[in-house]
Amino acid sequence: MGDVLLDIRDLYVEFKVYEGKLKVLNGVFLSVREGQRVGLVGEAGCGKTTTMKCVLRILPSPPGRITEGEILFRGEDILQMPPRKVQLIRGRRISMIFQDPTAALNPVFTIGDQLMTVIRYGSRNSLPKKEIRQRAIKALQEVQLPDPERILASYPIQLSGGMRQRVCIAMALSTEPELLIADEPTTNLDVTIQDQVLRLLNALVERRNTSVIFITHSLGVVREMADWVYVMYAGNIIEGGPKEELFREPLHPYTRGLMRAVPKLTGGGIAEGVPGRIPDYLDPPSGCRFHPRCEHAMPRCSQEKPPFLPVTGEHRVACFLYQG
């Protein structure tokens, strides 16, 4: 593995709402190395997407506000950069694929208009029109879309969901980014189409050695897509490590509960994973935010926030059970 590309350190984010402050991110640590495929798993509302919005500096503010922390991209803090510099990173060096390709594409412009705009603004020097078009066609071929000429002239509505997501992947990769953030890119797709899109994405990033952050709520998808996994709960990264280790021996009680609750192809019923529900961010639990739902909760858990420390090798966990 290469050098550290992205390093999120102790990130805190709040949202101001009528009732008070939503303390959403509560000290997030996450790092991505060159060529690494990082999976970020967690249930709805745990802060996965909020974290990524901070990386791209597209967090709506107000109501959102980053109160603490730094996001180092090749050693430089994105949060301290002037907006112009962030713009040069966004889309060129870091690009993003969103969950819903229908919402990500503009319905009143053709695929060609949109894809060629991305290529024009994404390239470091200005390109002749012909060259832009050729690159667009090449980008569509790479995502295995048949008849790219016809697709360039199509509107999003004329394509199926799977094809639209391929177009979004083509757009995101057309500027040869160093880091690709994929936010639940296959959640809306059928399982056979998901399989195709995941395989395609894997092949493309492998060929270019692009680093990836793959956000999903599905442990199964993460197992296919990532070589490093982070688990998030209520605004904290609670566990992280190499995929094989994390799936072989999940440590945090929340991760273990999630693994139990996934319906297995081998049958045997569905274990009740984690009782209770995600906390209210207006008044989150003190100490470890998971302690009200945790079967192993100790007095200490409600008093201090457990640090995110290594247990074996690089397998890290934020839980006092493993910190003597």
């Binding site: 249930e43 709805a44 199926s160 799977g162 094809m163 059928d190 399982v191 056979t192 189409i193 998901q194 399989d195 195709q196 995941l198 395989r199 709520h217 599905s218 442990l219 199964g220 998808v221 197992r223 296919e224 799936f247 509960g257 999630l258 693994m259 139990r260 609750a261 996934v262 319906p263 297995k264 192809l265 081998t266 049958g267 045997g268 019923g269 569905i270 274990a271 009740e272 994973g273 984690v274 009782p275 529900r277």
Partner: protein, 322 residues
């Protein structure tokens, strides 16, 4: 045992300006009391149309739906009230299936009022009992749906479906909008209710791993037709239809043991074609790895490959003839 529901040669077409959509194109199956049948398919396969035709939202184009031996293939307006009481449905999105302007108490009382069950006092007690059944606090009767979490709302939708003591409940992707930890709770509750009340479930879903743990039998639909129907264990241990194999091998799993259950890796390809112009012959032939000449010409007949294990595929039909 007499089946509670029999679907015979059911067809549902929708006539649109762009042509006739053959959403459900001649399917037959039955459902026993106390049984869960998983109806699985990708979007556009016709699984929800089948469910909506059974509940009466659509009238069938042709074919018969028998409930306890009685023909109910008429639209919902023409069905007797007792029938509506016996067949209930839980929709996918509890955010839109619960009236945002009513309290949970009013929502749960409505089916009792419609079917004139009990006095006002008895209905109040029944609503409290229903909330207890789905393990929600009693003071929720004063809350509005938006004050509840997604999982809790789905519990309310389930309680509402059970209010009239139905015999058949249609579950239309009841947990696919929810997180896995909440899904586990809801599924286990549904299984428990089934045992206690001898409910029959027609479970519509795209999640095969879930069906492995819930269904007694599984039917796979593709483009308005059933491809394979089998008892759940048999279905996962010995899948026959190439589409079933493709589906199974596409599922992302979390352990090595599960990888072993999957059939040898069949690379999924292509997309589900339009139901306006379905391919001739076997509808799956455009994406099938094992197709041959006959597949694009003749519609496959059903073949029984094991006890209660039905497959609609030419691969197996031919072997029988020889």
């Amino acid at each position: 045992m007499e089946p509670i529901l029999e679907i015979k040669q059911l067809k549902k077409y929708f006539v649109t300006s762009r042509g006739t959509v053959r959403a459900v194109d001649v399917i037959s199956f039955d459902l026993l009391p106390g049984e869960t049948l998983g109806l699985v398919g990708e979007s556009g396969s016709g699984k929800s149309t089948t469910a909506y035709t059974v509940i009466g939202i659509y009238a069938p184009t042709s074919g018969k739906i028998l409930f306890r031996g009685r023909d109910i293939s008429v639209p919902v307006a023409k069905r007797p009230k007792s029938l509506k009481r016996a067949i209930q449905i839980v929709f996918q999105d509890p955010g839109t299936s619960l009236n945002p302007r009513r309290t949970i108490g009013q929502i749960l009382e409505l089916p009792l009022k419609v079917h004139r069950i009990g006095t006002r006092e008895e209905r109040r007690r029944r609503v409290a009992e229903l909330l207890r059944m789905v393990e929600l606090p009693e003071d929720y009767i004063y809350k509005a749906p938006h004050m509840l979490g997604g999982g809790e709302r789905q519990m309310v939708a389930i309680a509402r479906a059970l209010a009239t003591e139905p015999e058949l409940v249609i579950l239309d992707e009841p947990t696919s909008a929810l997180d896995v930890s909440i899904q586990a709770k809801i599924i286990n509750m549904l299984i428990q209710f089934q045992k206690e009340m001898n409910l029959a479930y027609l479970f519509i879903t795209h999640d095969l791993s879930l069906m492995r743990n819930v269904a007694h039998r599984v039917a796979i639909m593709y483009l308005g037709k059933i491809c394979e129907l089998a008892p759940a264990v048999e279905f996962f241990e010995r899948p026959y239809h190439p589409y079933t194999k493709m589906l199974l091998s596409s599922i992302p799993v979390v352990s090595e043991e599960e990888e072993k259950v999957k059939p040898e890796k069949i690379v999924s390809k292509g997309e589900i074609p339009s139901p306006v112009n379905p391919p001739p012959g076997c509808r799956f032939h455009t994406r099938c790895m094992e197709r041959n000449g006959i597949c694009s010409e003749a519609v496959p007949e059903v073949v029984e490959v094991g006890e209660g294990h039905l497959v609609w595929c030419h691969l197996y039909g031919k072997k029988e003839e020889r």
